[in-house]
């Protein structure tokens, strides 16, 4: 082991995070190398310095008092809203049932045009904002599993993250966004120099087949499946977006 290799191991060595064999290699090198020994001593001194109580910040009494009041308010609100919340759930179930019933005979027809049109516009707006702000991904990862894990705890549902690399779409990452006031998982794929964002949101109605639309230079393919709705937004041409939508529709 040379000094360069050792450099990266000093920090985990200090933290006791190396396994026995790595530890003994490090110790062997340290025995012969005064420079690395010194580097370790520096890290140790820095660790000591960081333990100084003066470096800790403490919450002020004002913050503590304010929090207690806010928590009490939040608790009171929750208790009050128990019944209305159940009522709302019940109402939603009734509406969902009604909608599903309505759509059953002609599931390929545009379902709730108003709702979906507004979502198309909103999804395109959100995408334009993201592009303008250079805020496409909060997590950069090409690993569908990692992306899915990243969403856990951030959303009330688990968005499917299909692997489309075989179709020429590389997963670039994901971000958490809001479309029409609803939380949305935004999956970002790259296709050559083009970007495709797939928004996955809670469904607002029963399952629908793939439909397409365009707005402000963007093509949108969308559908609802299970309890989720999917919105593929891209500047790719209409046929490509539709094809991608069909592939995704099958994969999700």
């Amino acid at each position: 082991m040379n000094c360069k290799e050792l450099e990266d191991l000093l920090s985990p060595y200090l933290d006791g995070e190396l396994d026995a064999s790595q530890r003994s290699s490090v110790e062997q090198h340290l025995g012969d190398c005064p420079d690395c020994k010194r580097a370790l001593a520096d890290l140790g001194a820095m660790h000591e310095a960081l333990q100084a109580p003066a470096l800790r910040y403490h919450a002020s009494d004002t913050l503590q008092q304010r929090l207690k009041i806010k928590l009490r308010d939040a608790d009171a609100r929750e208790q009050r809203s128990v019944w209305p919340r159940w009522a709302a759930v019940a109402a939603t179930v009734v509406i969902a049932a009604a909608l599903t019933w309505n759509f059953l005979p002609r599931s390929d027809a545009p379902t709730t045009p108003g709702v979906d049109d507004a979502m198309v516009d909103a999804a395109v707006d959100v995408q334009q904002d993201a592009v303008k702000n250079g805020h496409l991904t909060e997590l950069s990862s090409a690993d569908p599993k990692a992306v899915q894990t990243w969403f856990s705890g951030k959303l009330a549902y688990v968005p499917p993250v299909p692997d489309l690399s075989a179709k020429g779409y590389t997963l670039a990452g994901a971000r958490l966004d809001t479309v029409k006031g609803q939380p949305a998982a935004a999956l970002v794929y790259q296709h050559g120099s083009d970007v495709v964002t797939v928004f996955v949101c809670p469904a607002q109605h029963g399952d629908t087949d793939l439909d397409t639309d365009s707005d402000d230079g963007y093509q949108v393919a969308y559908w609802t499946k299970g309890s989720l709705s999917f919105w593929v937004v891209s500047k790719l041409d209409a046929a490509q977006v539709k094809q991608l939508g069909q592939d995704l529709h099958q994969a999700t």
Binding site: D8, L43, L63, L67, L71, R72, D75
Partner: protein, 176 residues
């Protein structure tokens, strides 16, 4: 159904970690005002999701929420504020009359260390804080920061390297 004992349990298990939550938020936001906002939001979020807390380490659970809340705040502010580039490794504190020799690691005045840590990029700062202040294992840090253990190891190593360079008399001045 709301559990009438929820608030009492929350006050007993989660609220005692307010100082740790504030310390993390304060180090991440680098000012009192934003730290208070982040902590307040995080605590209310924690309370809302308290029913989903399965027991275990309340502090770990809370710090994870503080960190997520911080990043929501950070993204929002990064979009709108141009005055400060948080996370910019090259951020330099305004120069002053201290010579590099005086800034040397020699006596590690708390303020010197504090300023040096504050100039680390946010992804380095957070792993360093979780390790040095909270004493978390790499595995625990990986869970909070949501990156693989190997990434925790390399970030921590680089964070320490950078901190060491800064403390051993980089020309970047020290804010007193």
């Amino acid at each position: 159904m709301a559990n009438p004992a929820k608030l009492a349990r929350f006050e007993q298990t989660v609220l005692p970690h307010l100082d740790a939550a504030y310390n993390l938020a304060r180090w991440l936001t680098r000012n009192d005002h934003d730290a208070e906002d982040v902590v307040q939001e995080a605590m209310l979020r924690a309370f809302r999701f308290y029913d989903t807390f399965q027991g275990g380490e309340a502090r770990h659970w809370l710090l994870k929420i503080v960190r997520n809340t911080f990043y929501s705040w950070y993204d929002k502010n990064k979009r709108h504020a141009h005055t400060e580039t948080l996370g910019d490794e090259a951020m330099q504190v305004a120069g002053n009359e201290l010579s590099p020799e005086e800034v040397l690691i020699r006596d590690h005045g708390a303020q010197v260390v504090r300023d040096a840590v504050a100039t680390l990029a946010v992804e380095f700062r957070e792993v360093l804080l979780l390790r040095e202040f909270e004493g978390y294992s790499y595995k625990e840090i990986a869970d909070i920061v949501e990156v693989p253990i190997g990434t925790v190891m390399s970030r921590l190593s680089r964070a320490r390297q950078q901190l060491k360079n800064r403390l051993s008399g980089q020309p970047a001045g020290v804010e007193v």
